[in-house]
Symmetry: C2
């Protein structure tokens, strides 16, 4: 397996809020996602949630504050903390989570994460 | 803790091959590093090594091939695989490793990773 171009991977799909797995390391999935508009409030009880914005502007709403991220900004939502990502226009994000983590915090509503 | 600007963090230091910790999640350190020239051949027996190039061009030499990375390209060196990063000019990289992983693969020669 050679270099992975995040831009090239992002060019292969257009769905929003559907993380695609591009690599993995140490039991974690490395994913890219295209986001637009507001996701849902949720939390992950056992895992911190890594966001790195690649393009566009994202707000991560938290119970007590809003965190604003532009390109090249990262934020880790601590485990157990309720959060709601809001994408202003189309936003491209790198996300890292332990393999198998449901994107909505709930197996019943989570998307299946495809490897691309 | 708010958004972390990787560009702002990188602007605070100038040393090469000295990873600085900017965040952490799930037992891993998230680090930025400025690189120039060739590092040393090394491996990490128990951990995969995550590289995402933010600026510049990096070659990761492996026993049987060279992997070339530009901005927005990522590569995971599998655990146990000898590798030698070579930076062409100054290169800025995001690195993620379990907290405490020696950057040279050897506690005796590793740098102390400062939190910035």
């Amino acid at each position: 397996m050679g270099a992975i171009s995040l831009k090239a991977k992002l060019a292969t799909f257009s769905e929003h809020w559907t993380p695609k797995i591009v690599s993995s390391f140490n039991g974690h999935d490395v994913m890219v996602v295209k986001a637009e508009g507001e996701f849902t409030w949720h939390s992950h009880p056992d895992t911190d949630d890594f966001f790195l914005v690649l393009q566009g502007n994202l707000t991560i709403k938290l119970p007590d504050e809003d965190v604003h991220l532009g390109p090249g900004d990262l934020y880790v939502v601590p485990r157990g903390v309720e959060h709601c990502p809001v994408a202003h226009g189309e936003v491209h994000i790198l996300i890292i989570e332990p393999a198998g983590t449901p994107n909505t915090g709930d197996e019943k509503t989570a998307v299946v994460k495809e490897v691309i």
